[in-house]
Amino acid sequence: MLDHILSILIFFPALAAILGFIVHKDSMRAYGIIVATVEFVLSLWLWYSFDASISGMQFMEQANLIPAFGISYLLGVDGISLFIIIMASFFTMLGIATLTETRRIKDLIITLLFLQMTMIGVFAALDAILFYVFWELSLVPMLLIIGIWGGPLRIYASVKFFLYTFAGSLVMLVGMLFMAYFYYQATGQWSFSLLEWYRLILPENIQYWLFVAFFFGFAIKVPMFPFHTWLPYAHGQAPTIGSVILAAVLLKMGTYAFIRFSLPLFPDASVFFMYPVAILAIIMIIYTAMVAYAQKDIKQVVAYSSVSHMGVIVLGTFALNVEGITGSVFLMIAHGIVSGALFLLVGVIYDRRHTKLMSEFGGLAHVMPKYALIFGIMMMASVGLPLTINFVGEFLSLLGFYKQSHMMTLLAGTAIIVGAIYMLAAYKKAFFGDVTKEENKNLKDVNKTELLGLIPLTIIAIWLGIYPKPVLEPINNSVEAVVQLMHDKAISPEAKSTIPSIVKFETQEAH
């Protein structure tokens, strides 16, 4: 069974979703929870069976899909994707368990299970086209989640989300086709297998063009400035569950893809574009943090803060050294946990008051102390307090990039300042002060269902902040392999010197 665990992880939710059509709608939630829990346990099993000391791919599966065009069903996980997969199944479980939506709940759960399939597929796929299939397919359930269960502007938001990311990924698709074509030219064989592509060393100018093509797809997904404007709408209109999964998992597809595709395929281009990308990342960090500060809707604050943090992730990725990339992968998980939790928290108050405007609140700490506490912990995690999960990632990302540029890191580092500004300001507006609004005087504190979702997240946020090793170590091993691959593949001396060679691997070669 372990040989096919990835396939099982991918298709079990989809199968369950299809069978779910038969389940009665009153029992649907229980069904969803059971399915998602089984899936989560399976993903934990994956972790348990995962050999952290191996840097390469594990649990590989291969089957020919379209051999005539070199497309295969190729799966595998390494330290980079493992935890994102676990996180995807974790959040789906949590999301279904804490669901407060009552309208068309059966459809919602089925949609979520399909979404889960696509999410896990993206992170497990090692064939570019397979990756693309899941990548695109993930748009549909999300479109429906936003479009059906969203707010007043839901149609606009969902269509914008869909078309924007769709357009970007089509450019990426052309890039993939080029990549396959170059592979064809080099070897006389079509192949979309990433592992095959890794062996291809492309001339620099081609790398540049392909890097740009892939960049469009990824940057829109991340979303990087200036392609980020779909995100506030999507978050603003999406139901809680949608925002949670969008922020926690879907955005990670972009940054993950940078590490999976852009860096190892185009090492020279990555070095060449390091500064431009870093500049975009820095703009993302500061600019969106400022925009977040100007927001009146607390969900928008969290949404823009998401963009801002994704900037740090991108920056860490383009540090092109082990510290930075490991940090960025870790931060992906950290950001998933924290922003997921923040969106859940926003959902809690939205369920009670059906508004997300901060001016409607104030003094919530008096009436909802537990809520305020959890929100406070998550806020502190979000601003990167040491011993919370975000700090490890942010620190490593910035540390990594500092090797490349002092000034830019200094600018990017303002993330910790501007992040604190909007978060604290928002917290102050919503939680501190006196309770002024009559409606807020009798608000119920978080209930058991909500705690069920929030407490595990809080525990993870602190646990992995204090002891990140179980996650950091596998990531580190895989990232070292990626960096070494980049170093070996780099053509220009500049790139060779920018991307470090890992000592460990050098000694192995010597023997």
């Binding site: 020919n64 899909l65 379209i66 051999p67 005539a68 065009f69 459809d107 086209i129 693309y132 299939v133 695109e136 397919l137 748009l139 549909v140 479109l143 429906l144 479009g147 059906i148 839901r154 149609i155 969902s158 269509v159 869909f162 078309l163 769709f166 357009a167 089509l170 450019v171 698709l173 052309v174 086709l177 080029f178 396959a180 074509y181 064809y184």
Partner: protein
């Protein structure tokens, strides 16, 4: 006095004619049956047509076997040309027709299907298309084209609504103009080369090194205009939305597939040799036409208010997309053309059939056309399965992976990439995004809006056979990716062995 010519039956290679003959015989049989005993039920004719189509398909497959073994077959004084393209196109034509004909078995009674002539015309039309693709001779192509077209016009008109008449008249008149242009173009090429066989023309032109480039271009322009009409390339596309709107959804779906594949094959035969011989002008013009057709049709589709018209523009856009294969002209591109069209036919037929099953006899109050978007408002809540299927077809048409059409797109854009058409590849890709908008629009209506009119029945016209067709199309849309590889190999082999 002409000498008596002795022609041995073997040299005629009658086998090349068998598929078309079967279709013609089928048509005649239907007429004869009607003569003997009128008033028979339409299901009889449907099944007879089906039978003959099956025979037809068998014959095509037979010639496919011959082709695979012996290569291109010529027949009837070299007028018939059974090469890979002809076989592939015939397969698409016949299979698509087989999927169309059961659509006549609606639960509501529609005027046209009660006439046996309809089915006769249908089979004649198929024979016409088959002739069109199975020849290298401009005369036969012209005859085939006109046979098919002249059968098609009455079929549209038989729908018996004023819009249908209008559509038929428009189509007919423009078709007549196109016929004139085709004839003129053939005449110019004939004047230049003294031959009406495409390979002969190519050989003669190549021999004198395209000395009369100006005249070659005049001929090319005329032929191009004529085929642009058939393939609905902008600005020769204006008939498409009107004709689709005027005809029944089923027929519209059919028209978006079969006549075009016939057109593509002829376009490939005619234009690719020109492009490969360095007629830069044609390449430029085709490039522009492809881009304009794809883009503008998409843009116009965005602003449509009727689903069928939207689908009409979308099929124009798809045609533009596929026309790029002719422009690129590599084996991969030509393979992609057939692959794309085969995959497209399932999704498109599925979508049109979905419209067809929801088609009322009379317009609902407040509706100006048969299938306005509002009609589908909130469809998911009243009939979830139909809505899901419709959404599936929309997503397939939008080229969303892993649904069938995506693989065609992938392969064709891949062909553009390997053909060196970088910018074209990008334009093709981005057009998919634009197209995404209007396909989504229907999904938005179905899933995200509240139902407008209570009791809107989306299955008013459904019958087992219609459902079966939809199911087939849906299954094909989802699972056809499994067959893509064999298809590529099969098509690729045929295309390559035909020298394209």
């Amino acid at each position: 006095m002409l000498e008596a010519v002795n022609v041995s039956l073997a040299s005629l290679n009658v086998a090349t004619l068998v598929p078309m003959t079967i279709a013609v015989v089928g048509a005649l049989a239907i007429i004869v049956i009607d003569l003997i005993k009128g008033g028979l039920d339409k299901s009889l004719y449907v099944m007879i047509s089906m039978l003959f189509l099956l025979l037809d398909l068998g014959a095509v497959m037979g010639s496919a076997g011959v082709f695979a073994a012996n290569g291109t077959q010529l027949g009837f004084f070299d007028v018939m040309l059974i090469d890979g393209l002809a076989i592939l196109a015939q397969i698409v034509i016949v299979v698509a027709s087989m999927m169309f004909i059961p659509l006549a078995l609606t639960s509501k009674r529609f005027h046209e299907f009660s006439y046996p002539e309809f089915f006769a015309l249908f089979l004649f039309m198929i024979a016409g298309f088959q002739f069109m693709v199975a020849s290298d001779n401009l005369i036969l192509i012209f005859v085939g084209l006109e046979t098919a077209s002249l059968a098609l016009y009455p079929m549209i008109a038989l729908h018996n609504r004023s819009k249908s008449f209008e559509a038929a008249v428009k189509y007919f008149t423009m078709g007549a103009l196109a016929a004139g242009l085709f004839a003129f173009g053939s005449m110019v090429l004939y004047a230049l080369t003294g031959s009406v066989e495409i390979h002969q023309i190519a050989a003669v032109l190549a021999a004198d090194g395209y000395a009369n480039m100006g005249y070659v271009l005049v001929g090319t322009v005329m032929l191009l205009a004529s085929f642009a009409f058939k393939l609905s390339l902008v600005p020769f596309h204006t008939w498409t939305p009107d004709v689709y709107e005027g005809s029944s959804a089923a027929l519209a779906g059919y028209m978006s597939i079969v006549p075009k594949i016939a057109g593509f094959v002829v376009a490939m035969r005619l234009f690719e040799f020109l492009i490969h011989s360095g007629v830069v002008w044609l390449e430029v013009i085709l490039y522009a036409m492809v881009v304009i057709t794809m883009t503008m049709a998409n843009i116009w589709a965005i602003v449509q208010t009727d689903v069928k018209r939207m689908l009409a523009y979308s099929s124009v856009s798809h045609a533009g997309f596929v026309m790029s294969a002719v422009l690129i002209g590599t084996t991969q591109a030509n393979t992609g053309l057939f692959l794309y069209w085969a995959l497209f036919s399932f999704a498109n037929l599925g979508a049109f059939t979905m419209l067809w099953v929801s088609r009322q006899k009379v317009l609902l109050p407040g509706q100006s056309s048969d299938h306005p978007f509002e009609k589908f408002s909130g469809m998911f809540q009243t009939s979830p399965i139909q809505a899901t299927l419709m959404a599936l077809f929309m997503l397939t048409l939008a080229g969303l992976p892993p649904f069938a059409l995506f693989w065609g797109k992938l392969y064709l854009i891949g062909a553009a990439v390997s053909g060196g058409f970088t910018v074209l590849a990008l334009i093709m890709a981005l057009n998919s995004a634009v197209a995404g908008y209007y396909y989504l629009k229907l999904i938005v209506y179905m899933f995200m809006k509240e139902p407008l009119n209570e009791g809107q029945n989306y299955l008013v016209n459904a019958s087992t056979s219609l459902k079966a067709i939809i199911g087939m199309a849906a299954v094909a849309s989802i699972f056809l990716f499994l067959a893509v590889s064999p298809m590529i190999e099969f098509i690729g082999g045929f295309v390559y062995n035909s020298g394209y």
